[in-house]
C-alpha cells in the first residue's frame, strides 16, 4: 500500500477537520475529492508531516507518518495549491535548489532541473525571473519542483487551478504521463471532478472529515446505484415524491429533466409503474452513464 491510515483524527481548535479516517490507497493515480472543508488539505498536510494527528496512525510508502517524516519527504513530491516562489531567482536555480534540498548532488540537481523544466514546458523561459511568470507558468514550475528529485509518490493539490483550458489540458496530460507509465504514484486533490475522472483510476471521497467513499472509479460509478434520465408530462411533484419514498434520489435540472438515482436493488420498471400510478406521461426514459459528478453528488449529498 502506498498510503495507509487508520482512525486519523485532527481538529483545528474545536473544529474537527478529520474524524476517524481509515483508508488504504493502492498504486496508481488516486483522486482525493470532497467539498470545501471536507478535510482533503488537512489529510495531505498530515501525510506530509506538516501537521501531527491528534489520534490515529498511518504509513506513507511504508514509513510511519509520526516517526519517519524526513524519509517520507525524501521520496514524496509535493505541489501545493498556493503560488510558491523565491523572489530574485530563475526557474533553473529554483528547481535545482529544491532538488538539492531533497538530497540530490548539486550538479545532478542542476542538470535534472533543466530536464524537468523542458518536460513541463518551461524550457524556453527557464532563465527568466520568477516574478515575471504568469499564473500558468507558476503552476508548471510547482510541478517541476515536485518532480525534480524523481519522487515515488506525488501529492498534487489543485494542480490545474489558475490554468487556461489549453494549459489545463497540457498539465493533465503531464500528470497522466507521469502516473500511467512511469511508476510514480500520484495523489491528486481537486475540486474539478472532470480532472480527477480524466487522470485517476481510484478515488477517495471525504465529507465533513469522514471517509464518504473509496474505490476504483469504474466500480464506484456502477456499484451502488443506477442513474436514469426521465422527462415527464404532467404533475411532477407527486411523481418525485413517490420515487423518493421508494429510496431514489431525484434531482431536477434547469430544463426539467429528472435525474433519478436508483438503489441497486430496485428495478427500472418501477419508475414506469410509479409514473402510471400518479398518472404522468413518460416522454423520455434513458439510462445514463454515471459520471464522477453524479457519484460525488450522490455520496456527499451535494445538489
Amino acid at each position: 500500500m502506498i498510503v495507509e491510515v487508520s482512525d486519523l483524527q485532527f481538529s483545528y481548535g474545536r473544529s474537527k477537520a478529520l474524524d476517524g479516517i481509515t483508508l488504504r490507497m493502492a498504486e496508481g493515480a488516486v483522486g482525493l475529492l470532497g467539498p470545501n472543508g471536507a478535510g482533503k488539505s488537512t489529510l495531505l498536510r498530515i501525510l506530509l508531516g506538516f501537521l501531527v494527528p491528534q489520534q490515529g496512525r498511518g504509513r506513507v510508502l511504508g514509513y510511519d507518518i509520526r516517526l519517519e517524516q524526513p524519509r517520507i519527504r525524501r521520496h514524496v513530491g509535493y505541489m501545493p495549491e498556493d503560488d510558491c516562489l523565491i523572489p530574485g531567482m530563475d526557474a533553473v536555480t529554483f528547481t535545482a535548489h529544491f532538488g538539492e534540498l531533497s538530497g540530490m548532488p548539486r550538479q545532478e540537481a542542476m542538470r535534472r532541473a533543466h530536464d524537468v523544466l523542458f518536460y513541463v514546458g518551461l524550457g524556453e523561459s527557464r532563465y527568466r525571473p520568477l516574478e515575471s511568470y504568469s499564473a500558468g507558468m507558476k503552476q508548471r514550475l510547482k510541478l517541476a519542483q515536485a518532480i525534480v528529485h524523481d519522487p515515488k509518490l506525488l501529492f498534487l493539490d489543485e494542480p490545474t487551478s489558475n490554468l487556461d483550458p489549453q494549459g489545463r489540458k497540457e498539465v493533465l496530460e503531464l500528470i497522466r504521463d507521469i502516473s500511467s507509465k512511469k511508476e510514480i504514484q500520484v495523489l491528486v486533490s481537486s475540486h474539478i471532478l472532470s480532472d480527477i475522472e480524466s487522470v485517476c483510476s481510484d478515488v477517495v471521497i471525504l465529507n465533513k472529515g469522514r471517509l464518504a467513499a473509496q474505490g476504483k472509479l469504474s466500480e464506484l460509478r456502477t456499484l451502488d446505484y443506477r442513474l436514469y434520465e426521465v422527462r415527464i408530462k404532467g404533475e411532477g411533484e407527486g411523481f418525485t415524491g413517490k420515487l423518493k419514498a421508494l429510496g431514489c434520489r431525484v434531482e431536477e435540472t434547469a430544463d426539467k429533466l429528472l435525474k433519478v438515482y436508483m438503489p441497486a436493488n430496485m428495478a427500472a420498471r418501477e419508475i414506469l409503474a410509479t409514473a402510471e400510478e400518479v398518472k404522468v406521461q413518460v416522454r423520455h426514459f434513458v439510462r445514463s452513464r454515471t459520471s464522477l459528478e453524479d457519484f460525488f453528488a450522490q455520496t456527499v449529498g451535494v445538489d
Partner: protein
C-alpha cells in the same frame, strides 16, 4: 526528439541524506543577498572600515615615520584591546552591521512567508532547525566577514608588522576575545533579524523595523539619560550601548556606563530567547489558525 516528446524520464541517481542539509539554503541566501541593490556597496564599505584600521596598525608600528602627520595623537593608534574593541563595537561598525541586516537579512523569512515557500522547504527532508540554521548562517557569514575575519587579520598583521610575538605574549587572551565577541554580536544580530523577519510578510516593513528599533532604543536612552538625572542604568535601553557594555567585558576594559555588563548581556540574551520562541511558532509548513 525533445524531452517533452520522450515523456517523463526517471533520474537514475540516489537521494542521499546530507551532513549539512542547511547548506543549500545558506548558499542561496548569500547569492541572493549579492543580487540586492546597494548590498555590495554596503559590504565593501564595511570592509573598507577594516582596511582603515589595518592601516592604523601599520602606522602604529611605524609611528616615528608618521609623526609629522599625527601631531601628538599617537595614543589613538596604540594597538591594544581597546583598539580591537573600538573596531568591533564602535558606532560606525554597528551601523554598518545594521545596514547589512537591512539589505541582506530583512527578507530571509519574510519573503518565504510572503511567497508561501515555507511549505516547499518543509516538504523536503528538512527540520525546522535546518531551515533556521540555513537562514541564520547567511547573516553569520556576512557579519563574521566584517568582524571575526578582520579581527584575526589585525592580530596577524600586528605580529607581522612588529616582527615579534610581544603583542601576543602581552595579550594572549585577545584572539579568544575577538572570536568570542564576534560570535556574540553575530548571534545577537542573527536572532534580532530573524525575529523581525518572521513577524511580517513584507521585507520593507522588516527593514524599517530593523533600523527603527535599533535607533529608537538609542533615542530612548539618550532622552532619559539627558533629561532625567543622567542615570547610567538608562544605557540598558539602548541596543548599541548594551553591545558596547558586553564588548568591554570581552576585552577586559572598563565599561562606558557604570552598569554591570551582565545586565546588558541578559537583555541581549532575552532578545535571543524571544526570537527562539517566536520563530518556533511562526516557522512551520502550514499556517494553523
Amino acid at each position: 526528439m525533445t524531452i517533452r516528446e520522450k515523456g517523463y524520464m526517471h533520474w537514475d541517481g540516489e537521494l542521499k541524506e546530507k551532513r549539512f542539509p542547511w547548506w543549500p539554503i545558506t548558499w542561496l541566501g548569500i547569492r541572493l543577498a549579492f543580487k540586492r541593490k546597494y548590498f555590495k556597496f554596503i559590504l565593501f564599505s564595511a570592509l573598507g572600515l577594516a582596511f582603515v584600521f589595518l592601516v592604523g596598525i601599520y602606522v602604529s608600528e611605524r609611528i616615528e615615520d608618521f609623526r609629522y602627520m599625527i601631531k601628538g595623537e599617537s595614543a589613538v593608534l596604540e594597538v591594544n584591546p581597546a583598539f580591537f574593541k573600538a573596531y568591533l563595537s564602535w558606532n560606525g561598525m554597528l551601523f554598518m552591521m545594521v545596514m547589512i541586516l537591512l539589505v541582506g537579512g530583512a527578507g530571509l523569512i519574510a519573503d518565504d512567508l510572503k511567497h508561501n515557500s515555507l511549505q516547499l522547504y518543509f516538504a523536503r527532508p528538512l527540520k525546522k532547525s535546518d531551515y533556521l540554521l540555513g537562514k541564520a548562517n547567511v547573516i553569520v557569514f556576512f557579519l563574521l566577514l566584517i568582524t571575526l575575519v578582520p579581527g584575526l587579520i589585525f592580530i596577524l598583521f600586528k605580529l607581522l608588522f612588529a616582527g615579534n610575538f610581544h603583542f601576543l605574549t602581552t595579550y594572549p587572551w585577545l584572539p579568544l576575545s575577538v572570536i568570542g565577541y564576534s560570535l556574540f554580536v553575530t548571534g545577537f544580530f542573527c536572532s534580532y533579524t530573524l525575529l523581525l523577519s518572521s513577524l511580517s510578510k513584507n521585507r520593507r516593513y522588516v527593514s524599517i523595523l530593523i533600523v527603527a528599533i535599533y535607533f529608537f532604543s538609542e533615542i530612548l536612552f539618550k532622552f532619559f539619560f539627558e533629561n532625567l538625572k543622567k542615570n547610567p542604568a538608562y544605557a540598558l535601553l539602548s541596543l548599541r550601548a548594551n553591545l558596547q557594555q558586553v564588548a568591554a567585558w570581552f576585552f577586559k576594559l572598563k565599561p562606558e556606563f557604570a552598569v554591570p555588563w551582565y545586565w546588558s548581556f541578559l537583555i541581549l540574551l532575552a532578545v535571543g530567547v524571544a526570537a527562539a520562541v517566536v520563530l518556533n511558532r511562526k516557522v512551520r509548513g502550514v499556517e494553523v489558525a
